[in-house]
């Protein structure tokens, strides 16, 4: 069986999990094996949706002991399911939880692990992964030496494809408690917007923004086109009060949105490393020689303080984001 660990939010499968599930279905078809979807929590209501993305079997570990996320408890759920079901390939989305639990479960299973992969295939019955290394400056083809293979899939890379599966349900025994660590509280950030790593559209600012307060014009554009605001390391380190969670680049977040708009970003190698996986790149910079233009599908040489508000205006005029 190929098994995909899935996360629920507000009773729905999270998009990165739906993407991992769809890729799991594709791989299961290649090797002619069933696809399982695995859920854990105090309630797994909503897990039936996994059938929509091709799950033959929906496994649920439902227990009050799993009300809050615990690395070791969830690792137990994953590893036990792998052993009980004869799973050969275990996938999860490369989310905060996926990246926390998958390597721990892999270590318990004595399995090789590939994180944040951007392509998967089955070679001689075993998983093979392609994953960005050096923050996307290169891609490593990773093969596995172990009989169980574990990988996390990068959000926004694999398409979520609807394909009906049997969706037979089965309850698993949840771990009893006495965990080594537990999440006690979630501190939500004010905006409530999606994280950069999962955003479809990113508007990013660099040193050319001159001040943190000027990011307001990027917020306005992002709001108009349904995007999220990011920043280069130069901007985050400039002391403008921008949080590190906004930073895109090798020492920040590595992103792969459909559209990345770089405003006043010259294109330092460490920034490019974090965003070159974007499908479409727009560069706005007053320096026509800025390296960022080499990557850009569309370039605008000009003053971002004039261009960005015009973009917001144009987007509104054309009814972008209002659908």
């Amino acid at each position: 069986m190929i098994l995909v660990f899935c996360e629920l939010k507000d009773g729905q499968i999270r998009k990165p999990s739906a993407e991992a599930l769809s890729e799991g279905r594709r791989l299961a078809d290649v090797v002619g094996k069933p696809l399982g979807a695995l859920f854990a929590g105090a309630s797994c209501a909503g897990s039936a949706e996994a059938a929509k993305y091709g799950a033959d079997v929906i496994l649920t570990a439902e227990s009050p002991t799993l009300t809050s996320y615990s690395s070791d408890a969830y690792a137990t759920v994953l590893a036990d399911a792998v052993k009980a079901k004869g799973v050969t390939v275990l996938l999860a989305a490369a989310t905060a939880i996926g990246k926390d639990v998958a390597p721990r479960a892999a270590a318990r299973l004595g399995a090789g692990y590939a994180s944040d992969v951007t392509a998967l295939s089955m070679v001689d019955g075993k998983l093979q992964a392609i994953r960005p290394v050096y923050a996307g400056k290169a891609f490593a083809t990773t093969s596995f030496a172990s009989s169980v293979q574990v990988a996390t899939t990068r959000p926004n890379v694999f398409p979520a494809v609807e394909k009906a599966g049997a969706g037979a349900t089965e309850a698993l025994t949840a771990p009893a408690g006495d965990f080594k660590s537990v999440v006690k509280e979630i501190l939500a950030k004010a905006s409530g917007k999606v994280d950069l790593s999962e955003a479809n559209v990113i508007v990013s600012g660099g040193r050319g923004m001159k001040d943190g307060a000027n990011f307001k014009i990027l917020e306005d554009l992002a709001d108009a086109i349904g995007g999220v605001v990011g920043a280069s390391r130069a901007a985050v380190d400039a002391g403008w009060g921008l949080p590190h969670s906004m930073q895109v680049g090798q020492t920040g977040k590595v992103v792969s949105p459909t559209l990345y708009i770089a405003c006043g970003i010259s294109g330092a190698i460490q920034h490019i490393a974090g965003m070159s996986g974007s499908k479409f790149i727009v560069a706005i910079n007053k320096d026509p020689e800025a390296p960022i233009f080499k990557l850009a599908n569309y370039g605008i040489v000009g003053d971002l303080f004039e261009v960005v508000p015009e973009l917001t205006k144009a987007a509104k005029a054309l009814g972008i984001g209002s659908n």
Partner: protein
């Protein structure tokens, strides 16, 4: 309190990546090696704990002779002792975790600190694997850490903001930018470090879980085009192109 800090030597962020002749590894020519920046936060945190409540800080790296630079730097910054596990520190994270776990078990470490990922390999796997192999708690991508009596409370970065993780020591904690501001080595520290020796041990045998069979540069991006005219014209042309050509909207 006894703290182990695992440090990895990695190529500098400005490195232009070239693939070696074997087609599956990094060409080491012209590469400047540094301590992985996330490991620097881990080390700084250990030193601050030592300064605050007292602790013995052991710095460890897996690698060859060149990894001694990382350890000398750690000693200069305030680590009490340094251990080099001679082995492949650049390879599979599971193998490296086994080497470090074999060293650390039975040594009574209360806390093991490392970066949330090694820059370059970007596996973000060592911490959780090490925690599992040692059978201890983990908290990953930590921006704030408080230690109690045999317990820890850590703030961990997640998609929607952050969350508070609590658990029992011993624990593996992986550091994220924002945890602290690492100091520079003082002249006094550098001089003191020169008098210290680095303990060299052969790394325990380990089984790799995965291997890199090919390394390739990303495909060239297609040539783009520049949009001309005044700001309003450029802006309208761009939004239209994104809508009609790229079909982003």
């Amino acid at each position: 309190m006894k703290i182990l800090v695992a440090l990895k030597q990695v190529p500098d962020t400005e490195t232009k990546i070239k693939v070696a002749a074997d087609g599956r590894s990094l060409d080491p020519a012209d590469v400047k090696w540094i301590t992985s920046p996330y490991d620097e936060y881990a080390l700084e945190e250990a030193i601050r704990i030592k300064e605050g409540r007292g602790a013995e800080v052991v710095a460890l790296s897996v690698g060859g002779d060149s990894a001694k630079d990382v350890l000398k730097n750690a000693l200069a910054l305030g680590a009490d002792t340094a251990v080099l596990l001679k082995g492949d520190g650049q390879g599979d994270a599971f193998a490296v975790a086994q080497m470090i776990a074999a060293y650390a078990k039975d040594k009574g470490f209360d806390l093991i600190l490392c970066g949330n990922k090694g820059l370059g390999g970007d596996n973000a796997a060592l911490g959780p694997m090490l925690a599992e192999l040692l059978g201890v708690a983990q908290a990953n991508v930590i921006v704030k850490l408080e230690l109690g009596d045999g317990t820890f409370k850590a703030e961990r970065e997640i998609e929607s903001g952050s969350e508070i993780v609590e658990g029992a020591l011993p624990a593996v904690i992986t550091a994220q930018k924002g945890l602290n501001e690492p100091r520079y080595a003082s002249l006094k520290g550098i001089m003191a470090a020169k008098k210290k020796t680095i303990e060299e041990l052969d790394a325990a045998p380990a089984v790799a879980g995965s291997l890199i069979s090919a390394l390739a540069l990303p495909p060239e991006r297609p040539a783009g085009r520049k949009l001309e005219g005044d700001s309003a014209t450029q802006a309208m042309a761009l939004i239209q192109a994104l809508k009609d050509e790229a079909k982003v909207f």
